[in-house]
């Protein structure tokens, strides 16, 4: 696990109540790991005056209470917070063990569960069983959640399976759809419009506001898929709370 160490990011204000800590400009696992390490550190030191922390691929947003970070002199509140961040990252407390969960997600691939599986396999020049094995065999990490509550963007997709988004996005992608968009794979937590290639479907509920925690996956979690058949999909299905 990478150490946040002394400051290895730049600070960009995003308006008067948000700072972006920038670790890079593109999607790669090492940059994203530094984002999660920094988010973990700020949670561990219980940084005060922070309203929300949002890890993304290459940046971490800190939505903050500007009144809390206001100064008595004329210096801006955002610089005051930036200075406090420098101090936290200069002498980080000892790292604790990786607390991110490992989650196995059962997926029924192909047929009506994954209408785009054959196209993904054909583009990759793979037999469909080989495409399933490579998707299910990946070691994934939740880079970020976004787009809709509980939608995980997963890093770690086999390069052979990288597939462009559909030319015509669907108006309805079903809840639980496991899909590929470019170099990423993700899971639709609810019925949503979407342009990703749907290769399978999980019976698990990714997001349920009434559940604690509401999300099956948290940023930084490790994910593996397990191929299941239609019978197991039915057995594992939970009724839609909505």
């Amino acid at each position: 696990m990478p150490s946040p160490g002394a400051r290895d990011f730049t600070i960009e204000p995003l308006g008067e109540t948000c700072l972006l800590l920038r670790f890079g400009e593109r999607i790669d696992a090492a940059t994203n790991a530094r984002v999660h390490a920094a988010a973990d550190l700020l949670r561990r030191v219980e940084m005060p005056g922070i309203v929300d922390l949002v890890p993304a691929y290459a940046a971490l947003a800190l939505h903050y209470d500007a009144v809390f970070w206001a100064t008595r002199d004329d210096s801006p509140a955002w610089r005051h917070l930036a200075g406090a961040l420098d101090a936290v990252f200069a002498t980080p407390p000892p790292l604790r063990a990786d607390t991110h969960a490992r989650v196995e997600i059962p997926v029924c691939y192909g047929e009506e569960f994954g209408p785009d599986l054959d196209e993904v396999a054909a583009r990759a020049g793979l037999a469909r069983d080989e495409a399933i094995a490579r998707h299910a065999g990946g070691d994934y990490r939740v880079a970020m959640l976004g787009f809709a509550p509980g939608f995980p963007y997963l890093l770690g997709l086999d390069p052979a399976l990288h597939t462009p988004r559909r030319a015509n996005p669907r108006t309805r992608v079903p809840r639980g759809a496991v899909a590929i968009g470019g170099a990423q794979t993700g899971i639709y937590p609810a019925e949503l419009p979407g342009g990703w290639q749907v290769v399978g479907r999980t019976p698990l509920a990714l997001f349920d506001a009434q559940r604690d925690p509401p999300c099956l996956l948290a940023p930084g979690d490790r994910v593996r898929f397990r191929a299941i058949d239609a019978g197991e999909f039915e057995r594992l299905s939970v009724p839609d709370a909505t």
Binding site: L14, G146, T242
Partner: protein
Amino acid sequence: MSVTVLKPGLLTTLQDRGRFGHAALGVGSSGAMDGVALRLANALAGNDDGAAALEISLLGPRLRFDSDAAIALAGAEFAVRLDGRPIAMWQPLAVRAGSELDLGAARPGARGYLAVAGGFAVEPILDSRASDVNAGLGPLGGRPLRAGDVLDLGRTRDGRDPGPPAKDRHPPWSLDPRPWFDADPARPIRLVRGKHFDALDAVSRTTLFEASFRIEADSNRVGFRLDGARLALAGPLELVSEPAAFGTVQLPPSGQPIVLMAEHPPTGGYPRIAQVAAIDLPRLAQRRPGERVRFREIGLDEAQTRYLAREHALARLIDTIAARLAE
């Protein structure tokens, strides 16, 4: 103690100051578009700052109070009638059981707030009573009000039933809304340069602050789409999804800027050319689809200083209102 919805209005939702602390799960904050008007409506109704109120857009609802209540209205100017008689906004009001409140149309402004003493007794979802229509999160599953909905009222701050306020308790004062409400389309909205402002081509860097944009008809609580002048980048930018904020001005490939509003998702992937100054978010929220908007530049430090000054003034005013109501 409840309110029955006779007519829902165009888009009436329960909102509080927003759902914070869950953006890492992809849950946006949502909450009131005009947070200042929401807070003043709550203050005038004798509520705590975090209470939920009705956000009423453009065309208001007709409501029946099933019990006596103390209420207040703030924000856009609606043609409000209580049992057929015009009533004023920006002041505490007593409502009798059986009364009908009809909000009519807003002008000037786009969004009004109806606060009821004790607040609306809906279960918080992820620590908030804000409605997020697109995510289907919040009271009523995040949806806008419908005819026939019955909204239960909560208890007031001191734990007693809110009504009936005696006639002589009806205070002979109201708030001067001018420092807190401005829907004048001629006045510019201030912008702080965004990370990708310098990636705009030279003409667009000037156009952003000189042109007049029109707020497109499909603008909503998620975002305002602007048309009239198209903007362009000097060259293509390859960006990954990044955190965004209320007021972030994004530039999609169409060249029509989009201003992210209260119900925006926590992340976005388009170039961020600017950020609406926090002091001007309530003013922008009061602009109507079809109206024009002009921008003026402000530096971040000045914008933050002004924002803090406004927050302090608003907190003082809210305290003053609470003291007056206690007299």
